[in-house]
Symmetry: C2
């Protein structure tokens, strides 16, 4: 049927055990024998059957990664970090897209479980926590991405949203602004609220009252929401002189709408975005924004999951917060 280790052995005139040793512990095989086996492998075009190997050794050489949106640059960068870190220790990555649907998430999880992946990196969208606990019970490492584990029963890695809000508003304060607006997205996740708390913290530290920041909550983090924010801003009196946005899409929407209305940026209104997407640098006025260490997030999470899945004795679950960074361009 398929060219197996057995035929390689026959062709090289050795036993299957020797062929296996050439593949896995080459140093235990005499040089001449090894050469003969390698030649046979080449002649026959033999490729090791990973299923058989996995069946025997009991676990796979892969990690599973489930993200809620493969098209979101945030997660593609995280995935990149995971891939690099995994490749560094000889592991592959099975990338699944839950598309923010609990049904697809569930199916992806089943798939990964059937494949016996060593560890799971996931941004859960509709998952009962006892389900994840069950997986951990079977020795599969589990790390939460961009979420914080509710108790200390699991590792998690997340960017520190509060710090992000803090550095953005601190920057604006440093430029001399006194009246601020915050364009928030939906309040369901912790991201927008955390940034809000950080913004207030920065004001407090500078001795400014909380009322100096107007909170404009929008139903979504989109360009058109940004345009709406601009419209609202134009009607305010006194008008804020600094705008901090929940993400770059909103910031760019607001920026372009303000420019069209004749507002000068950053002179009349300064703007800070969030995420540092490609868009930010391409805006009419290149956008000052907060960059999240996305690739690093994937990297750190991968190290944690490998530590947890391995038999590393002293593993303690922990939450790792990562620090975002201000990217200063022209808009503030």
């Amino acid at each position: 049927m398929e060219t197996s280790i057995r035929e390689v052995a026959r062709r090289a005139g050795v036993s299957v055990g020797t062929v296996s040793n050439v593949l896995n512990r080459p140093s235990r095989v005499a040089a001449t024998t090894r050469a003969r086996v390698l030649a046979a492998i080449d002649d026959l075009g033999f490729v090791r059957n990973e299923s058989a190997r996995q069946l025997r050794v009991g676990r796979s050489q892969t990690l599973g990664l489930i993200v809620p949106d493969t098209r979101n640059p945030f997660f593609t960068d995280v995935a990149r970090g995971v891939e690099d870190a995994a490749a560094g220790v000889g592991l592959g990555v099975l990338l699944c897209n839950s598309a923010a649907s609990p049904g697809r998430e569930r199916r992806a999880l089943d798939l990964l479980e059937q494949q016996r992946v060593r560890g799971l990196l996931i941004t859960p969208v509709g998952l009962r926590h006892d389900h994840l606990a069950r997986l951990q019970g079977r020795g599969m490492g589990v790390v939460l991405l961009d979420r914080r584990a509710p108790h200390h029963d699991r590792c998690s890695v997340r960017v520190d949203h509060e710090m992000g809000g803090d550095i953005a508003v601190s920057h604006l304060i440093g430029l001399g602004h006194k009246r601020f607006a915050y364009a928030s997205g939906p309040l369901d996740g912790d991201a927008c609220q955390g940034r809000h708390r950080g913004a207030l913290r920065a004001l407090d530290r500078a001795g400014l009252p909380p009322e100096s920041l107007i909170n404009l909550v929008q139903p979504e983090l989109s360009v058109s929401s940004g345009r709406n924010v601009a419209a609202t801003l134009l009607r305010l009196d006194p008008r804020p002189t600094a705008l901090f946005c929940g993400n770059d899409l909103m910031a760019v929407g607001a920026l372009h709408a303000l420019l069209r209305a004749g507002v000068r940026v950053p002179d009349d209104i300064a703007i800070v975005g969030y995420d540092d997407v490609e868009l930010a640098d391409a805006a009419a006025i290149p956008l000052t924004t907060v960059r999240q260490p996305r690739q690093q997030l994937g990297h750190v999470a991968t190290e944690l999951v490998i530590e947890e899945a391995g038999e590393a004795p002293g593993h303690r679950h922990r939450h790792v917060p990562l620090a975002p960074e201000l990217i200063t361009r022209d808009s503030a």
Copy 2:
């Protein structure tokens, strides 16, 4: 060790064959037995070992997808199309990133081959064609993405670049323009040259001479290249009144630089981009652009690879070109 089909069988008081039947051909098992087995599966938290299954049946339930850049929205959308189409027929997708490096591509390929994936979808970056032919010889389906197979020995799916250039320039001609510029990217792939040919075809059909289109070749398809194009354009006399760009990044760079120089868009200069990235709609003047059917590309490619990998008798290799679409916004 691991809860296997054997323990499920013991617990339900049936044979392993029956458990396997419940899993794979439920209709062959009496309803009461089936219920008993399912209960046992549930009690024990049994999850089928995919490696063992694969080893036995000889082939996996997955397709392999190798793209040169996981962060490029083009490929994330293609991947989305592949995932959806594959999920529709019960297949999983192993997504690999070659990062445009032949070494990584090679390693990804080995991984997929070891996993015995049923088919391979790939945008090759440094692959000898006989290598792919070898895979096909083993019964693995192979389909080229966004590339054209040089001979008729393989299936391929690609967006028709020539048509894209044609519809973009035809649109500009329809608006009454007579003097054009084409901002091309590097000429290594076929994409930018194809679009150029399409542009010339449109001119020819409208009875305009080829000299009415100035070709500005740039070293990369980036925002800053777009700014350079704008600078060049401003020095030209007579100045073209219509600009067609190799992609949206360039178009946006040019657009914003022109606006800043006081040029009115689309009145003084009309602009058409290419790709319809998120950016296009977010530009200061929302960008008219050419959208490639990216998800559909993945979908069609998946159907082809499944057809080729299955024992469908009448499979003929073919090249499928897909038609791009003009998205009209404000810039032209």
